[in-house]
Structures are given as structure tokens and as C-alpha cells.
Amino acid sequence: MNKSLLLLLAVVPVAGQPGPSPVREKATLGTVDLGYRWTSAVPGDFATYRSVVNLQDGFRVRGLDFHSTDSSRRLYDKLTFFADSWGDPYNTARLDAERNGAWRLWIDYRNIDYYNFLPSFANPGLEQGSLVNQRSFDMRRRFWDAELRLRPGKRVSPFVGFSRDSGFGRGITPFVTSGNEYPVGTTLRDQTNNYRGGVDLEFRRWHLTLEQGATAFKDDQLVFTADRNLGNRRVPLLGQELFLAQAAQAYGARGESIYSRGVFTAAPIEAVNLYAQFQFSQPKTDIRYSDNGRGLFYLGATRFFNTLESLASGEAKQPHTSAALSAEVRLHPRIRVFESIFTDRLHNASSLLLVQQLFFATGPAETARIFTPDRLAMNYSRQQADLFVDVTPKITLRGGHRYEWGDARLRSPSLAGTANPETGELKRHVGLAGVNFRALEKLAFNLDYEGGDADASYFRTSLHDYHQLRGRATVQALASLQLLANFLLLDNENASPGVGYDLRNLAGGLSLRFSPGGGRRVSFFGDYTRSRLRSDISFRSLPFLDRADSFYRDNAHTATGIFELALPSGHKVVKPRLSLGGTLFRSSGSRPARYYQPYGRLLVPFSDHVSVYAEWRWYGFTQPFYIFEGFRTHHLLFGLKLSL
């Protein structure tokens, strides 16, 4: 081979190379965090511990992440996988994969154990020493979400997606009859599948997303007991002791929904941005329900019966339309105007036919057919205009006005003793103001104010005449010291006759982050938040409708601190790091509580790729009004971290 050919071979690839390009070598990065946790015995209430913390002994994959780029582009350009807390009651995983310009896929998974058995909740027998929560759950909720997008980043990009949300487990629920209610076991199983597909059209001046989706839903709760149960009634009724000997309940709800969504953005000219959105869904549910119970039940009017059997069939439909239109206009390089309109209309219509048979100890059975239609209609609209003025390059002022209005119509609850529908109205003017001040690169603060004045609101505790002030300031005092302050004040009053609602929520916090020398040797993060909530409202106390007052107070201190220290070591690689800190929560008021979680951690890296650690954490929870619900426990965790 002569020299000129060699030269040509050497030059051609270089000349043909289109300038710099992204890295094309195959690269794989990842970390694995494995650990084993020991928990001490839990002095106190184990059910409360499980309801609040729920971490147990055992081997755990605490974290796993994996990143791969493939230069060959046979399958993908980039692939990322995360998994977190496998073995614990709360675990997640996520996969992201992409081939640039061709497709992008993500799959998200999470599993959350939902255990809730707090003896102070839903427990009519508490004063008699019973520690049974009659609305308790030991469930698992799982959530899958996946989406595949073709031609991401291109002008026309179609996508399809699927998500599944499911729950299953068991619990305790009352079997409610007239005159008594009986806590019994229940199994719960529900599942919602969502299928969706659509297309994104992205152009230089406008964008349109069209999506069509469908949802399928089912709920199959079952209740069964064959144990004699005296229920919550403590005294005989008309000389008879009510009891439940056997009960079964089966809920079988099947639902489906088709929905459409369209989103449009445009910038017809440089100074104008437009945004429009339209959403329509029409979920509907088919209902099948049956129950039967044997025992002694009260019917009313001094009559008792022994067996009940019910069968119900019904349907509910809920067309729901939402639309939004917004625009941003830059009148001047320093002046911007926002205008937005939003409307939301929902109409729930249902009908149910219940056939109920009652069997008596003596006499013929009675059959009742009860047809119950029901309606709930809600129309809500909101219009908002904002003006933003950059007074100087560092100061932006904003002011605006929002008007919210709506109406609702629904059937009164049968217990209210009236057949007339209830109607509600919402009319609220809200003034908006704010300032954004960037004094220096190292100092910035932001203030937001909302003041509302309502002529009518839906509920007694809704926002009515209110003021809300929110502030945030950041100071980079030194290169190594950052301070952040937060402030919130919400004052809400409804002085209408018969309401007399007064709420004040005040919270302020200060955070500090100190990391001299980039935190190589020492770093500290601390945060303290103080909050005070006061709510006063009158209500009608049953059974005589006497006027009574409901006072709620919550005065809380929350602090978090983490101090990190690199321990002295003569070794180049083995540089242990010690972390000490934790969180503290302390509140007084209507339900005082103390919840402490101090922790310490020692991390010892043996190389750039291998480190071990030991972690100690303490959980302590006490409530002065519910001492039986406290717990405390130590957790000790040893782990190994490997990185590629």
C-alpha cells in the first residue's frame, strides 16, 4: 500500500466526521446498596408503630441504579433503571429507555403497604378500654404506569400508555344495621386500568396534543362473619339485646370511562402566547350489591327482625367537562399580561333499585323495593387577570384579580329530614399581588399575597373572606453558607349568621446549609419550622341542636438537622464519614404529639467502588392524650454499597 493511499485512509474519516458528536462509546454506570436491618422490640403499641413506620427486620435492596449508553444503537441509546427499598413495605422501580429520535419508553412501578390500625380512631369502645379500630386496613396498593412514545422530539410524535392502580388486602369494617353496628372482617380488592394513546404535534409556533383514553375499574369488597357479635350498642334496646350471628356482604362495582383531551399552545407572534385545553370524561359505574345477615335486629316502631337479605342493582354516570383558555401578552419588554379562564362542569346522575327482605321470628316476611335516583351537579368557573411589571431588572411587581363563581345542586341527605335539594353557590373575588426581588445574585425574596372576599361559598369551612401572605427569601451569605426563610399566613373568616368561622394558620421556617470547602470535611444542614393553626367555628350539637363551639389548635415545632464530618484518616481512600442528626416534631393543642427520629451513620469507603456503612435510627412517638398509642424502637442497619 503506497503512502498516498494510507494518507487518504487516514484523512477521509476525519474529513467526513460531522464536527463534535455525543459520546459513542458503550458506558455502564451503576450502584447497588444492600443492607440488613435489625429492629429492637417495640415497647408500646405495635399496631401504631406499623401504622406510622412499618419497617421490619431483614435483608433489603435499599437502592439500585443502573445507567447504560450503547454506542451501537442497536436497541437503545440510553437506558436507566432505578429501584428503591426492595424488601421494605414501600418499594419502587423505574425504567427509562430511549433511542434518540426513534422512541422513548418509561415504566414506573411502586408498591405501598397500607397498614392503619390506630386504636384511637373509629373506636366507639375506647372509653371501655377496647383498642380495636373498627375502620382498619392491612392493604397493599400497587401502581404501574408505562408509556411508549415514538419519534420523541420530532414534529409528530404518537404515544401509547397504560397504567394500573390496584389495592388488595383485608381490614375491619362495621356491618351497619338500624340500632347497632357490628365490627367484622372484610377483604378488599379493587383495580383500575387506564389505556391511553394520542399524538403530539410540535411545530415552531404551535403545539397540539390529542389524547384518547379509557379506564376500566372494579371493586369487589367482601364481608363475611359467622361469629356471634354484640356490636357497639352497650345497652339493650326495648329490653332486647341486639346481636349479629352471621353476615355476608358483597360489593361488585364495575366501572368504565372514556375520556378525550386536547391541549393547544401557540405563539402567533413573538409577544403572544396562547394556551387552550379541553377535557371530557364520562365515567360510569354498574353496581351489584348483596348482603344478608342473621341475628336480632331493630326495625323501628318497636319491631325486631331476625334475618335480612338485600339485593341492589344500579348505575351511576358522571359526564365531566373542563376547559381552560389562557394567554400571555408582552406589551413591552418589561410588561406582561396574563389572562386565563377555566371552567369545570360535572353532573353525576345515578339510580339504584334495592330489594330488601326481612324475616321475623313470627309472622310473614316483608319485602321492600326501594328505587332511589340521585343527582349532583356542579359548575365552577374562574377568570383571572394578572399584570407583571419588571420595574427594574431586579424587581418584578405583579398584581391581579381572580373571580371564581359556581353553583352546586344535590339531594339532601335523608337524615336531614327534607326532600328539597340542597343548593350551594360560590362567588368570590380575589385580589392578587406580589413582588419578586433579586437584590443581588446572592439575595432574593419573593412575596405573594391573595385577598379574597366571598359573597357565597359552598361549605362553612371553605375559603370565604381571607388573606394569604406567602414569603420566601434566599441568602447566599458566603460561598459555603446559604440561608432560606419561609413564611405563610392564612387568615380566613366567615362571619355569616350561623357560621362564625375563624381560621388562622401561621407558619415560618428557617433553613441553613453550611458546607465550607464544598463540604469535603464538614457540612451542616438545619431546618426549623414553627407553625400555629387556630380554628374556631360554631356548630349544632346533637341531639338537641344546641349551639356548641369547635376549637382546633395545632402549635408545632419541627426541626431537622444533619451534621456530616469526615473523620481523620491517614489513608488516601479510606476516609470515613460520620453523619449525625435526625428530625424532631413536637406539637401541642388539640392532639399533642411528639415524634422523634434521631439517627447516626458511619460510612467507610474502602475504594472508589466499595463502601460499607452502619446506620442507627430511633423512632419515638408519644401522644399525651392517647398514651396507649405511643411506641419507641431502635433500628440498626448495616449496608454495603457497590458502584461500577
Binding site: Q279, R330, A385, A408, E422
Partner: protein
């Protein structure tokens, strides 16, 4: 939609249209374009950033001819760099990190304005409070600090950097499992904004975002509980954390219910009629309303949510 507009403040519409018509005249003129230097000119001095950027999602701009930035990915955000390459002066190159948020966002929105993720931007509280894109999205990041951070714990840490007061709420005994890393702030909130208040996400097309995980509360129910539809789950729950069981906003269930259900029959005022008079609140049986009204989120069978 049109009558919705007029029912509010009808005078706003003509005013708004007039202002919109003026806008083009008031728009800023584009600065004269300086010459570009090309991405490889940046490498010698900014080797570390250059290398990490090669693994970043934006690196494709260097090879993507359709976007118009082939060979000039750095300058797609930093602007023409020839003058800076010549003088090496920081003043001669655009640095989005040091610009006012609106200015910094301009370069991002040049490409990302018309994308599905940005559709709620105009109404979003981040845009209103001038939080620049680069405050959350580290543009020079590698895989480990990606533009869209995962897992949940990393997202939460990022949000807590500014919203420390909200993060402290999750230290309360009853809260969603964010501290445990099973959920993240963006599961419920869309940081880019949306039509709903507090940047709340939606499930499906327009159902409350809470129903993405709490599908059993979705309905529609034969008998709806109005607050769920009218004001959402926050009517009764404090989703960021509470001292009360079930994240309720009151310590006693009866108080929570009766604060609303206190209107005498026939009396004008807010929704929520008084329940029948046979409940004796002196008895513990009746102080736990949800022991009997078990389907309080909505019932398929009973108007009073008893089954």
C-alpha cells in the same frame, strides 16, 4: 366557554384584545447576530462541562440537523460564542445562570415552549414567581444528575431545597410516604403548572390527581359526598401530613363532620344539612361518625353512606 368569559368580567375581553393588538409594536427587537464558534471551540477551556454535556440529553443537538444547531449545541443556550472565544472574557458570552429568570428561560422556551410539558406554564406558580427552568434542571448534568431526576428521593430533595416548610409537614406522624422515598412531590404536583390550583395534577383527563393512586375512591358513586367533588380531598385531609389519624384536618371525626353539617333544615347558607336528631354525641358510639357512615367518600348502595 364564551359565556363563561362574559359571566365573569366581560369588560376584560375587549381590553385584552386591544392590548394584544398593541403587543407586536412593543415587542423587543432581536439583537444583531454575532458569529458562532462551534461546540469544539468550547472544549479546550471547559473540558469538564464539555465531557459531561456529551452524555446529556441535549448533546444530540450537535448532530441533529433539523433543529438548526448542528455543531453548535453549546451556543444553542449560550448564544454566539465567537467573540468570547477570541477575548476569553466572561462578559462576551451569554450565561443563563446569571441572567434574570425570564431572560434565562428564553433560551429554553425557544425549543420547549410548544411541548406537552409546558402547556400549563402560563398558569403555573413557578412561572408566576419567576423560577427559572435551570433552577430545577441542571443542563450540564450527566446521567447521574439528569434533566428529569429520579428516583423519588432525589426529586423530593430538589423540591425541598426551596419548599423546606412543606417538607417539614412530612415529618408529622401521619403523612404520605415521601420521606420513605415511595412517592415524590411530582406525583401530585406538576411543577410546570396546570389549570388547577397549586399546580395539582389530574388523573385521566380531568379527575382529581389523588385518584391516580386511590382508585377505589374514583366512582362515580350512586351517592356522592359533595365535598369530594366540589372542593376535593383537602376538605377533610391534610395531604402533606398531620398529627391526626388518616391525615384528617381535625382531631375528632365528629367535629370534622359537624363543622359542615350544621345548617338547620330549610335555612339558607352553605351546603351540609344537620343530621337527624337521634345521634347522641354524649355517647362514644356517635362521636365516631365513620364507624357507621363507612362509605364516606361515596357509596354505591346507601344515601347515608352506611354501606
Amino acid at each position: 366557554m364564551f359565556d363563561t368569559l362574559l359571566r365573569g368580567r366581560p369588560w376584560r375581553l375587549p381590553l385584552f384584545l386591544i392590548l394584544a393588538a398593541w403587543a407586536p409594536a412593543a415587542a423587543a427587537q432581536e439583537a444583531a447576530q454575532a458569529p458562532y464558534a462551534g461546540s469544539d471551540s468550547c472544549q479546550p477551556c471547559h473540558e469538564e462541562i464539555y465531557s459531561s454535556f456529551r452524555k446529556n440529553a441535549h448533546a444530540f443537538l450537535d448532530t441533529e440537523k433539523g433543529r438548526g444547531w448542528a455543531g453548535r449545541a453549546c451556543e444553542s443556550c449560550h448564544g454566539p460564542g465567537a467573540k468570547h472565544v477570541e477575548s476569553l472574557a466572561a462578559a462576551d458570552i451569554r450565561n443563563p445562570a446569571k441572567l434574570a429568570p425570564l431572560e434565562a428561560d428564553k433560551s429554553c422556551l425557544e425549543c420547549h415552549r410548544h411541548q406537552a410539558t409546558q402547556v400549563g406554564r402560563i398558569r403555573g406558580s413557578h412561572a408566576r414567581n419567576l423560577v427559572a427552568c435551570i433552577q430545577c434542571h441542571p443542563i450540564h448534568g450527566t446521567e447521574k444528575v439528569t434533566l428529569s431526576p429520579h428516583p423519588a428521593a432525589r426529586i423530593n430533595a430538589q423540591c425541598a431545597d426551596c419548599h423546606a416548610d412543606v417538607w417539614t409537614s412530612f415529618q408529622r406522624p401521619h403523612s404520605h410516604r415521601l420521606v420513605q422515598g415511595a412517592m415524590s412531590c411530582v406525583d401530585c404536583h406538576n411543577p410546570h403548572g396546570g389549570a388547577l390550583i397549586r399546580n395539582m395534577r389530574v388523573a385521566g383527563a380531568n379527575e382529581p390527581g389523588c385518584l391516580r393512586c386511590h382508585g377505589d375512591k374514583r366512582g362515580p358513586f350512586a351517592f356522592e359526598h359533595a365535598p369530594v367533588r366540589l372542593e376535593g380531598c383537602q376538605s377533610c385531609h391534610e395531604p402533606h401530613g398531620s398529627v391526626n389519624p388518616r391525615m384528617l384536618v381535625r382531631h375528632e371525626t365528629s367535629r370534622l363532620c359537624l363543622e359542615c353539617h350544621a345548617r338547620p333544615p330549610g335555612a339558607p347558607g352553605a351546603l351540609g344539612g344537620i343530621p337527624g336528631g337521634f345521634h347522641d354525641l354524649a355517647s362514644p358510639r356517635f362521636r365516631n361518625c365513620t364507624v357507621c357512615h363507612i362509605k364516606i367518600h361515596g357509596s354505591q348502595v346507601n344515601r347515608d353512606f352506611l354501606r
